[in-house]
């Protein structure tokens, strides 16, 4: 249920984009992307941009960088201009080098399905697909994610319809409080994309990087088993 609510919030009408998303420039050019852009760049974002410009000039002048190497170096005071491909849309952003992908997804792109749990790669609530493989967004620096395909739970929706793994979780009650659910579903999605013919044991070990404090594991595993069966028989997308 929570997964459902989260996704519809973020997918519906771009309401999830926070005001701070002045640093977001949509390239895909939908109305949703343009909105925050037009409402104006935040003062902070503007200052950061100017700051970066100054640094760039300094580098050209050869005063700050150790050498005129092609290596990129971003100091803590600077922001880097990067493009992330999230759910098949290009997002241009200014990011600090220390920002995790999770922080950028949630706070800059308004994609709140991936959750901040342990922030140290143990609980799995932040799981996203990077190049089709489930990975922890909390342990991925946003700058490092540049050039890779990122898929969040929101990207598993088929328009306003739930994806097949989401469906299976709803059918089998694969959740109680729902906090871990987006991570569980994305991890399961990655598992099934790699191999839809998974055994129950493979599902168990495959989801070992996702904790559920409510202990909904039996239903989670049943849901993934069911989704796997459907994929193998071509029952649903």
């Amino acid at each position: 249920m929570t997964a459902d609510r989260d996704s519809s919030q973020e997918n519906g009408g771009g309401s999830g984009l926070p005001s701070g998303a002045g640093e977001t420039h949509g390239v895909g050019r939908t109305n949703r992307d343009d909105e925050p852009n037009q409402t104006g760049m935040s003062r902070r974002g503007f200052l950061k941009t100017v700051g970066l410009g100054t640094a760039a000039v300094a580098t050209v002048a050869g005063t700050s960088a150790p050498a005129a190497e092609p290596a990129v170096a971003i100091t803590p005071e600077e922001m880097a201009k990067i493009t992330l491909v999230v759910n098949d849309r290009q997002r241009r952003l200014l990011v600090e080098p220390r920002w995790s992908l999770l922080f950028v997804l949630r706070e800059k792109l308004g994609l709140n399905a991936a959750k901040e749990g342990c922030e140290r790669g143990e609980c799995g609530a932040c799981t996203v697909l990077i190049d089709e493989q489930p990975r922890y967004a909390c342990l991925t620096l946003a700058v490092e994610a540049e050039g890779h395909r990122i898929t969040t739970l929101e990207g598993l929706m088929q328009g306003e319809e739930l994806g097949d793994v989401q469906h299976a979780f709803a059918e089998h009650d694969g959740l109680q409080c729902g906090f871990c659910t987006p991570g569980q579903i994305v991890a399961a999605e990655g598992l099934l994309r790699a191999n839809a013919a998974v055994t129950l044991d493979e599902i168990r070990t495959g989801l070992s990087g996702n904790l559920c404090r409510c202990g909904a594991y039996p239903n989670i595993f049943r849901a993934v088993e069911h989704a796997a069966q459907r994929r193998q028989t071509g029952g649903k997308s």
Partner: protein, 292 residues
């Protein structure tokens, strides 16, 4: 959030990466998968303010068999190694060792080079590589060198690398016919738990005689421990369970375990007495072509 006040470098070549690292010395860290480094920087266990990303450095992810060696690029992810056909064919025990590590999210991100260079005593990839006679290719600001994997570790979280040096490749001789390997590990859970103790064993047989044997222990000493006494005991003998049990006793005595929250030193020695024969039995069965 991780790494406050950190400058992020993205060199485009090994030479450039070495140069940057050499320039910043102790303040710099190479960033590969980041699954340990970012946590350690965040928690303050490790301190550095220059992150040197290796993501754009070319040719560090390759996995291939060449000149009788299984060559694994240091930036190959654990998942990539575990699923590489060359690894599955030549050294299935390495795949098994890797599949004990973390969960899929960690294995999809963490690299074998990172597992070596962070040099945690309970790391799971070095023991088998050492037992299989791996050599490490290292490149630094002043040149390149090759080193037996057994000589790489100095202490907990310490290696022989100087600050400008990068581990670029792990080269494991393709195990010859009639040889077998095994990795046996005990942890408090099946997934997402580090080893309390682990044993890697590689055996070669000639008929009914052991011609070469290497036993390496993990998580029971400051560094992965190659037990020479086990080799002395095993070579020239018949591969029988009694002999392997004796090797277990020797391994337990050779270890230098500590007591921590995962287990006492005594418990770790007990584990070695069980895991060592288990590893040797499986390695022998594989050498005879009996087991998968």
């Amino acid at each position: 959030m991780a790494c406050r006040n950190t400058t992020y470098h993205r060199p485009q070549s090994i030479a450039e990466a070495c140069q940057i690292a050499g320039e910043y010395g102790i303040r710099g860290r190479f960033l590969a998968g980041g699954t340990e480094l970012l946590i350690d920087l965040d928690s303050g266990r490790d301190r550095a303010d220059q992150l040197i990303s290796l993501r754009d450095v070319p040719d560090l992810c390759e996995i291939r068999i060449e000149a009788g060696e299984l060559r694994i690029g240091a930036l190959a992810t654990l998942s990539a190694i575990a699923t590489a056909p060359d690894v599955v064919r030549a050294l299935p025990a390495l795949r098994e060792a890797i599949l004990t590590m973390g969960g899929q999210q960690i294995r999809n991100r963490a690299t074998i080079g990172g597992n070596f260079c962070r040099a945690v005593p309970c790391a799971d990839t070095p023991p088998l590589c050492i037992a299989a006679g791996a050599r490490l290719e290292i490149v630094g600001a002043t040149g390149a060198r090759t080193l037996p994997a057994a000589d790489f570790f100095v202490g907990p979280r310490q290696t022989v690398l100087d600050r400008s040096e990068i581990l670029t490749e792990i080269r494991i001789p393709v195990p010859p016919a009639h040889s077998g390997a095994s990795y046996q590990r005990f942890s408090l859970r099946h997934g997402m738990a580090v080893a309390v103790a682990a044993v890697a064993a590689v055996l070669q047989l000639d008929g009914d005689e052991i011609t070469s044997a290497r036993v390496v222990l993990s998580a029971v000493a400051p560094v992965p421990l190659l037990v020479g006494e086990c080799t002395d005991l095993l070579v020239g003998r018949k591969p029988v369970p009694d002999l392997f049990a004796e090797a277990g006793t020797i391994a337990a005595a050779a270890a230098q375990p500590i007591t921590d929250l995962r287990g006492s030193a005594e418990f770790r020695r007990e584990l070695l007495a069980v895991l060592t024969p288990r590893a040797l039995n499986e390695a022998a069965a594989r050498a005879k072509g009996e087991a998968a």
